[in-house]
Symmetry: C2
Subunit: 1007 residues, 2 copies
Amino acid sequence: MENSEYFKIKNVDALPPFFMNIVSGSDLWTFASSNGGITAGRRSAEFALFPYYTDDKITDLAETTGSKTIIRKGDMCWEPFSVRSEACFHLERTLYKSRVGNSIIFKETNLDWGLRFSWSWTGSDRFGFVREAKLENLSGDAVGVEIIDGLQNIMPCGVPSGLQQSSSNLVNAYKKTELDPESGMALVCLSAIIIDRAEPSEALKCNVVWQSGLKNPVHLLSTEQLPAFRKGAGVHEETVVKGEPGAYLLGSSMSLKAGESRTWMIVADVAKDATAVVELKDFLLNCADAAAELRKDVDASTARLVDLVASADGVQTTADTARTARHFSNTMFNIMRGGVPMAEATAQNPLPLGFGRRHGDPTRPWNVFNINTKDPVTGKPILDYEGNWRDIFQNWEALAISWPKLTGAMIAKFLDCSTADGYNPYRVTRSGFDWETVDPKNPWSYIGYWGDHQVIYLERLLEAQEAHFPGSLAGMLACEDFVYANVPYRIKPYSEILKNPKSTIEFDSDLSASLKAGMAREGVEAAYVKGRDGHTVKASMMEKLLVSILAKLANFVPEGGIWMNTQRPEWNDANNALVGGGLSVVTLCYLRRELAFLRGIVKDSSPVAEEVLAWMRATVKALKLYDTQAVMDALGESSSVYRKGIYENSFSGLKEELSSEEAVEFFDTALAAVEASIRANRRPDGLWHSYNLLELSEGRFAGIRHLQEMLEGQVAVLSSGVLSPAETLHLLDTLRHSALWREDQRSYMLYPNRELPGFLQKNNLPADALKRSAVLAEMVAKGERVIVSQDRDGGLHWNGDFRNADGLKAALDKAGISGEQAGVVLDLFEETFDHKAFTGRSGTFFAYEGLGSIYWHMVSKLLVAVQECYFDALDTGAPETTALAAHYHEILEGTGIHKTAREYGAFPTDAYSHTPWGKGARQPGMTGQVKEDIICRFGELGVRVREGRVSIDPTLLSDSEFLPDGTLKFSYCGAQVNLHKGGRLDLSEEESQDLFARRLEEINVTA
Amino acid sequence: MENSEYFKIKNVDALPPFFMNIVSGSDLWTFASSNGGITAGRRSAEFALFPYYTDDKITDLAETTGSKTIIRKGDMCWEPFSVRSEACFHLERTLYKSRVGNSIIFKETNLDWGLRFSWSWTGSDRFGFVREAKLENLSGDAVGVEIIDGLQNIMPCGVPSGLQQSSSNLVNAYKKTELDPESGMALVCLSAIIIDRAEPSEALKCNVVWQSGLKNPVHLLSTEQLPAFRKGAGVHEETVVKGEPGAYLLGSSMSLKAGESRTWMIVADVAKDATAVVELKDFLLNCADAAAELRKDVDASTARLVDLVASADGVQTTADTARTARHFSNTMFNIMRGGVPMAEATAQNPLPLGFGRRHGDPTRPWNVFNINTKDPVTGKPILDYEGNWRDIFQNWEALAISWPKLTGAMIAKFLDCSTADGYNPYRVTRSGFDWETVDPKNPWSYIGYWGDHQVIYLERLLEAQEAHFPGSLAGMLACEDFVYANVPYRIKPYSEILKNPKSTIEFDSDLSASLKAGMAREGVEAAYVKGRDGHTVKASMMEKLLVSILAKLANFVPEGGIWMNTQRPEWNDANNALVGGGLSVVTLCYLRRELAFLRGIVKDSSPVAEEVLAWMRATVKALKLYDTQAVMDALGESSSVYRKGIYENSFSGLKEELSSEEAVEFFDTALAAVEASIRANRRPDGLWHSYNLLELSEGRFAGIRHLQEMLEGQVAVLSSGVLSPAETLHLLDTLRHSALWREDQRSYMLYPNRELPGFLQKNNLPADALKRSAVLAEMVAKGERVIVSQDRDGGLHWNGDFRNADGLKAALDKAGISGEQAGVVLDLFEETFDHKAFTGRSGTFFAYEGLGSIYWHMVSKLLVAVQECYFDALDTGAPETTALAAHYHEILEGTGIHKTAREYGAFPTDAYSHTPWGKGARQPGMTGQVKEDIICRFGELGVRVREGRVSIDPTLLSDSEFLPDGTLKFSYCGAQVNLHKGGRLDLSEEESQDLFARRLEEINVTA
């Protein structure tokens, strides 16, 4: 362990505690706080070694959970990393994290005593969690100490994480920790599985802890003796402890000569049955050198993790170790979420991915992670993947750089999971797809179509496919190999949507149940749309692409954007209140890019279902109308007709050839409309609108209301392809001086930070309220406070129990106030709170996508967009090229790779999801940012793929990245690229295709 | 505050942290750990000032939640009660709790600095939570310090407790704490109510904190500056803090002369709307002496609480201050649960109780408490009560001592809530009753009839009524004023119960829904059983009593007990696995007492429904049969016939007069059968069986299996009235030397403690398993591990995922193993685990009613029973009288009143629910023990009520309880009793009845 590479943060206790994800190549998970707090386990939170709580609680409970060391010398005690010792000694605390990311070391030097204590956490696939402790005598004198060292609050096996969170005291009553005296191993058990039913429930698995390195320590299985030890008492062995949190603490005396050090290891694992315990015990009793075996497996575990990351081109060697470490980390987190190929692709398993997992961590309590990567019986890797549509395709996009040959299968998976009404299901799994359901008992359950990602992620996969294998898409357009996912949502007719654009989808719960039953019986085939003949409907790629584009255009509002009326928001779901009223300029921009791309590749005719063709033709007509209302109505109605047809009668099976000419006409018409609308969304300051609000009045278009500037719209317009290099540069210059810039982090927020009104400012009725409302005046006069109350200064305030107008309406109803009188009161309420402008929770909280927060994924999306614009400028020799490169580098630096730990608030070698105003980075690792940064990194290294050929020309790369010998190395499609300073290279088509097939081992790029 | 009486624990930090309930006379609740950890709020956990977690977490989070003080002198910091200072100074920590129970003081002396710091928590009904801090200079020199003092982790208003427990980091993102600079008040807010839906949700209430006593302090609203302050930095005012836990910390410099002290107060309250905040601000800006106002309300709040307790005879003055404090505390907790009369009884509200609440606390995470005692709008007390049947009647029993005139209404409430099939609903409310329902979505939902309490609590109310008002019951027996509760449970026919005695009740969910709808419309009347004519069925008291007795006898198993086959256990629900198979000797004993009592009061005939009479007559016949099977069958069948009749056709309305002769014959027959069966349950050692197991074989009686000794059975047989004083003494002597005795606490456990097998001992198949099972042998040979696995030493272990035979059965099914082969494997499983003998979770955990634990309520039930036996012996001049008194006092001392805090593990002046093996008392206050102890206390004081007359003759009272002047005082029925040493008194019937009507003010008992 000691010999691998580590990054360190000195005086880590000068930073507010931050959170880390310590990874493994198997199912071991560890999350730690920089103050020593920790949770760990295998597979999921249900197999925890330490309680699985949210990160704030893990930090706050560091004193009683995880590592604990007490070193006693004379009548003083030193407890490394504990608040107990901070006031007593001069201490130096340093935190290390290994470059590979699977190990951390907490190190504390006691300057008064001349002693240093450190412990590391790392994983062994075979043995579990390995904590190596080391005590060093830095002084020139021999020293003798009494020490207690080990782990506290060890969980038994079999406790549901939710029960531990809500009822840990009840769980404690069931805990039993036993010492196996022969081996010195502790078995941390439940006396029974905790259930409320009157039946026996044996707990036949336990968590285990053992040690290697200390001779004849005293074993403590609880913390009961610690207070006395601190006061000078001796300790006695504990052989069984009941009704208390489990602990494994070793008491020992040590004498260290000057300069001498002592190390030992404590090892813990979860979910061992009796057979496994006997095996481990046998190992402990009979293995000649357990420590050596342990180190061997720790090294092997590290090697396995490195191999996985290396296979996805995660390993680079340049002079910028921070940058390459971040790339390693990015690649690791990308494959942790999306998976990585672990076998040859076959017809049965065209995407043979493993290692991916359902993600989550203690910073995201709403996510339930599950590392289903290893068969629990055979121990072999499981080839499986699962993820939200929103996540999985983004991780695959980065993965496709290294496995270009899988891009086609990714596109196919994408298209086969999209629906006949043009949307995508919630979750994608290897075996098919899944959707959200409505559970009347669960108020949090909800359904809808997220439109986000659908356009751009597909488009990027299509572009990659075309770039690597030119013409291949054109050849597939006519291929009728695709299907429609039958998600049991039914979008209401346009007329209904106009009436209530927030409630637009019927959930067909019977169909949902029967589809799920069918899938359980026959697999995903059961959930594909069937034609009138009962067979699965097959569609050409052209048809599938058309359907998704038409579904977007169906909601096109000229000059406004794409109307978000499918009950879910776009990318940023903290803007969830835009649902129903929002118009997405973002989607418009991505649609523009897709339309332009497809227009460019259409060569021949393709068979298209008559229903889709009719819809397309109606759309073309509609787009040529002039009046906004007319366009909306025509698009909405024709979509309704299409949907009604396929919902009620499915596809007729009749197809027609769509000629390339007609297809191009469609694309041109759509492009013209879309581009004009994008152009209409340029703000006077040179930024672009991101989302607008559609105003409706009695079911008719009544105007478009602009919202504040947002980062997302700038990214989208930069990606859209409509801007010239000059416009791009203007946008970026403006952005840099806009309210989206956050100087302390030298980066961009999603929206300008703003102050919410103070408590006493926000709930005040207008001064003339009582004049305007006779009812209110009467109630106030009577002292009735169910609607408003008057304070002693005369101020009027709404009932504090109201949350929005619904609460007021209910109170008005109850008070028998209706009609005009009620209207007046409701108007006063809206005047007070301006709820019309409410865009979602983004404006109400202070972390995540909230006020003042930097949401790093969007910053890196900006980075990708700017890199693309830079290359466009470069390719056309535009004069803005250098300035664009400067913007690129400024945005890149903003993401933090070269920030100090204090600026970044954590190890800058890991991506974090967001950085709240005035605080450090939050939510380690599992962010979409990693995918964007992988893409950018290859661009920086000069890797570009055009027309089936690879060129390497690192125009964005800083010379300082070259090693002293003038070279640097990186991996690409599994080949090692040796890049020499000043080097550039164009691979031939044949070489390029060999590379894409991962048949090249080495590429030299010389000057 | 300082002038009220306090108990103290010196060196409280030498005890493991314990938990306290700090009460109030209004809706303020506070729970604190002796290490300083705290949660508090109003009404329920949903209006918390500090996070509402379980007690273990509150203790573990003391460092970051609640009170925080940092006193800096030179370069050293002292933090009272913090682990941060323990190693740096010589400290003395003392904890105080007020006799009234509404205030605690944490006091720490820094011997090195000669300083003492203390803070108290107490409640003000008007202002909320008052924390008074005091810094004293004990030294002879002036001293100057920098201090930060205040509160941390203050909750905003509007966070559901479950969300805080599972997702506190998400909650943090919504927090906003603002300073009102003018008043120095902090408003701790949510920026919005946290919801997942896309709608505005204003947070219009906040929690508030302010101070009085410090001049111009620096206000901190977060803990951000604390680390720097500890290192010597100054602090600067914070006016708004976002996305962080709220805090209210005051920075100040202080110079104290020798002996000088300084005090200040920090006051916090919850759920203030804008109007209330304006009012408070106005108070702070304009009140001349806020501190005085505060103290005035604190005193008034204490007085209100004392008045409530005093009204329930909680106030006593003797030389034994511990004993009288415990009685005060017992009375307080008794009325907190069951309520206390707060108005005159009327026909509309015959039980005008207030102050009672749905109970719960952080030690009972499965309970949700709700203090609905005050109208949130008017602030007036609410007259209401609500509680589990199991709880409310026990609290009322003790209350009835002080309000004997309410006993009749309690009996009526009891009877009107019982069902036509003879059981009782789950919950009793002022407006009616409620039952558990089956929710198919909730695996924890379950229904059934708890038979416990039904017999004995009714019987004790009946006895009290007869003792106070002799002949009144006899007069009511014929009165047809009673009704039947229509709980929508339908007990299956006897033949079905025999087939599966664990599943015996059908839940009629349609009926449940319609009853609830009816109650919502028309009140409880809708949920009474209706006759064939559609009118509410009316029954005489005799009929109601008969029905409940017959329902018990229906399950009578001669020599075995009452078969527990209504899906719920008896009193001790940790023995829940007895359901279906258990036979209760306990119920038999209480039934005996009731039968004997009723036999003694019957005078005249009473009208009884023909169906009930037929059932009674069939029961008499059945009880005279000789063979166990015949008795069971006859009882079971006749009950089935009765139930089928009333379930399907209700009552005919035809009644017959039950003559007193026939009634007496019935009671005699039942008594004979019951007494003989009790007698059959004497163990050879002189203890008595508590519960037996009914063995059935193919639906026929196959024997009775005895279980281990339990305390409950001894209590029941002592209460039953069957034992002579000699037998009683023998039982108690035996009990004292039995395995139920716990020497360290000098008291009795529910069951003998026992060692559970170790992890490696419990899951081992018999050695010959592979010989006996060919299938297993084959699977082991093949290395298939789905059923068993073999360890490397040859040991065989069941799959660690099995919890009981159901898991094994599923695995056998999946493996295609059935018939005889499966039978062999299942037999091996049962041999391994002996699940037949599983009695419930009592044998699987180490606290509550679990292994080694003392469950105090049962100890005090023993105390009540022994006191009754003592009085019987006394009245008959039995020679065992003195020895019984000695047992009484030993048991009484065991309950802890005079134990040291170290022995007891908490303030011994408060009752706690249980004491686990080797640990301190757990679960403060809200235990049934308080009711038993109140009953006993009046017996000790010599108060007895017989034949309508009160006598006072304190034969059990220790002389040492008399004050130096030879008197002591206590309150009884609201009258002050002045008892002189050696005094005794018999009140006349008229005086006694005046006393029962609470018309006496003072009684002097002189020698």
